[in-house]
């Protein structure tokens, strides 16, 4: 089993005629993802790699029922695109676009909440359930995805898109497969963060252990530790926290927009301490992720 999406998931791509979307639509199709329609207002009637393009989500879904949308439109249009998807019954929206104003993100998340729908991103490369489905552009062309990812029992949730593939690659090259791998998005506010996703892995019988990739900034790791300490989660978790050197450079911006440390808030030191206190394994080196994961397989 995979979480969020599998080989049966029917997908639409909003903004499909854009350069980036055209390219990852092909990669998704090559990987076996069921991309049933695309939407670009004003370009209805065209085809992108054989996928029919519609002017509106409503028209697309009338001909091609789907539950998931990958959204890749300019930042100023993202809010409307997500709400259009949700209004038409999409239950999983993967927002690839970056530089989305935070107020817009919060506003479409408010709508998603009222519809019981799930949003991944914004500013995410997407997610992959190896051998089953891939939503977004994580991992690049299908041939490259097959090299870095393979099916198996490890879940991945990462604040960095590139490191999602890197962790999968580390595990794959050591013969360990993955259930679902999610780039949660680099923004300070994302639709699904560790707190939202770990419980899904926890309930998934196939996933035996979860690997998290964290960076400085934000308090989500601290909150996750509280959740684990309250014994709300039983799945083993491995945390890898990059950017330890950043603790000594307050106020300097590294990595993602979320990666800014002010005072004691969001330092890697505080995250590591909280993880340890909660019994979350902290991988001291990147390679150690494998050694810890093996204990649970």
């Amino acid at each position: 089993m995979a979480i969020l999406a599998d080989e049966h998931t029917q997908v639409i791509v909003q903004g499909i005629t854009g350069r980036e979307a055209t390219s990852f639509t092909k990669d998704m199709l090559d990987y076996g993802t069921k991309v049933v329609a695309g939407i670009t207002p004003g370009k209805g009637g065209q085809r992108v790699h054989g996928v029919p393009v519609y002017d509106t989500v409503r028209q697309a879904l009338r001909d091609h029922p789907a539950e998931a949308a990958v959204i890749s439109v300019p930042p100023a249009l993202v809010k409307d695109a997500v709400i259009e998807a949700l209004d038409n019954g999409i239950t999983l929206a993967v927002v690839v676009s970056e530089r989305v104003p935070r107020k817009d993100t919060i506003e479409f998340l408010e709508v998603a909440k009222s519809r019981n729908a799930r949003v991944i991103g914004p500013n995410t490369l997407g997610l992959i359930s190896p051998g089953k489905v891939r939503l977004g552009m994580a991992g690049g062309p299908a041939a490259d995805v097959r090299k870095a990812y393979m099916p198996g029992p490890v879940g991945i949730a990462s604040r960095s898109g590139g490191m999602t593939t890197e962790i999968a690659n580390l595990l794959t090259t050591r013969g360990i497969g993955q259930s679902t791998c999610i780039g949660i998005g680099g923004d300070p506010v994302v639709g699904s963060n560790f707190l939202d996703l770990i419980p899904l892995f926890d309930r998934d019988p196939e996933t035996k252990v979860v690997v998290l990739f964290s960076e400085p900034g934000g308090v989500i790791e601290e909150k996750l530790s509280e959740l684990v300490m309250a014994e709300k989660l039983s799945i083993p978790i491995i945390g890898f926290i990059a950017g330890r050197f950043v603790d000594n450079m307050p106020g300097v911006r590294f990595g993602h927009a979320a990666t800014i440390v002010e005072g004691d808030r969001g330092t890697t030191k505080s995250k590591i301490e909280m993880f340890r206190k909660a019994g979350i394994h902290v991988a001291e080196s990147f390679s150690e992720i494998v050694d810890i994961a093996k204990r649970y397989l």
Binding site: S160, G161, V189, E215, F245, A257
Partner: protein, 393 residues
């Protein structure tokens, strides 16, 4: 983007929040004052009062000297470009009010305390009951009755309740209208004459929303607004220029360190990982950087040359996560060209090359032509860092 106090106050003024009478003063400006004043350094960081950035004066000559002193001071890493001078009047009581996003709850949150003028986070830790926090939605905003509920829960009643609720609802409007990520009025003061006045204000605007606010965008373009202590080093400035050579990909966020191992690392998460790993293995990086998004050969070449031009740096480690967008062959070409143009031998200069992914066969061909060993995807970032450090000693 954090606005300066005087910039924030111009916005509050538009929303009819009462402010002390004040104006900006510069170096050597003749001053006339009619009563005690506060002189406040305009710097984009909190805690300036404790750091000596806020001074009081009662005489014009005293004020002039203190302004001059502030404009020469380094306060929490900033050198103020201007001082804001405000009338100083007697205060009866101080309140805290602020709006920000709760990134975990994914909602805006209004914060109010009847004990203002203090560090609110410290107060929230010490006496949580005194700090009221309530979420609201972007869609419904913060209606006056919600603001009133929050202020009333904090124990305020009577005429004061009405004035404070209006102020809280108003700053929530500022927050939403301006795409702010923080609005904080601390303190909002009840003056002896009964008026409610915003003595200080801290406003931060979402960087991604600046383009839709013409007034803020104009401020952002003004490079003379603030002057930080940590100015770019010459090395960092040159690196910044390299990243602006063209719009293809990123070879940026270069920060200079004093080690001997040059780093070309990327993307964002992998750079953090690789830098930590180099240090953990005992290596001393000469720089940090974030390369990604398929930078041009030109940019990679120039960055390589720049790093190798640093005295004492003759090894370079190239480490990236498995790439899909960035092309390995373009990276390899840029690195080799940069090394050759620096008059060095690629085989002796590359401490490690570990960039697996798109176009890797082509990249490996280029590197093997110059005798540079390649680490493939089976070598982890951590192992690549160890190899680089071993080859540098």
């Amino acid at each position: 983007m954090r606005l300066l106090e005087h910039e924030s106050k111009r916005i509050l003024e538009k929303y009819r929040i009462a402010l002390p009478v004040g104006r900006l003063v510069g170096q050597g400006e003749p001053l006339t004052i009619d009563g005690p004043v506060m002189l406040k350094a305009q710097i984009p960081i909190g805690g300036r009062g404790k750091a000596g950035g806020i001074l009081a004066a009662t005489q014009a000559e005293e004020a002039r000297q203190k302004v001059s002193h502030l404009l020469k001071s380094n306060i929490r890493g900033y050198i103020p470009k201007a001082v804001y001078m405000e009338e100083k009047k007697a205060v009866k009581q101080e309140f805290f009010m602020g709006i920000t996003y709760d990134t975990v709850a994914k909602a805006p949150v209004a914060i109010f305390s009847a004990e203002g003028g203090v560090d609110i986070e410290e107060l929230a830790q010490r006496k949580p009951a005194l700090v009221r926090k309530e979420h609201f939605t972007v869609h419904s905003r913060l209606p006056l009755h919600r603001a009133r509920e929050i202020v009333a829960e904090a124990g305020v009643s009577g005429k004061l309740l009405l004035g404070l609720s209006v102020a809280l609802a108003t700053i929530a409007e500022v927050f939403l209208d301006y795409d702010a990520t923080v609005v904080e009025v601390n303190p909002l003061a009840l003056m002896d004459d009964g008026r409610l006045v915003a003595l200080d204000c801290h406003l931060e605007i979402d960087d991604d929303a600046v383009p839709r606010h013409a007034d803020i965008a104009a401020m952002e373009k003004d490079t003379g607004r603030v002057e930080g202590e940590r100015r770019m080093s010459d090395f960092e400035r040159l690196a910044f220029n390299i990243d602006n050579l063209d719009h293809r990909g990123v070879a940026g966020r270069v920060i200079e360190f004093d080690g001997n191992l040059g780093l070309i690392i990327g993307g964002g998460g992998a750079s953090l990982t690789a830098f930590d790993a180099i240090r953990a293995h005992g290596g001393r990086p000469a720089n940090y950087c974030e390369v990604g998004g398929n930078p041009s050969v030109l940019k990679v070449k120039e960055l390589t040359r720049l790093i190798l031009s640093k005295p004492g740096v003759d090894k370079i480690a190239v480490i990236m996560n498995v790439v899909s967008n960035t092309r390995v062959d373009m990276m390899a070409r840029g690195i080799v060209k940069g090394i050759l143009e620096s008059g060095k031998n690629p085989a002796q200069t590359v401490a490690v090359f570990r960039v697996p992914g798109a176009w890797e066969e082509e990249g490996h061909k280029i590197l093997s032509k110059y005798g540079v060993p390649i680490q493939d995807r089976t070598v982890s970032i951590d192992e690549a860092a160890r190899i680089a450090v071993t080859n540098t000693h």
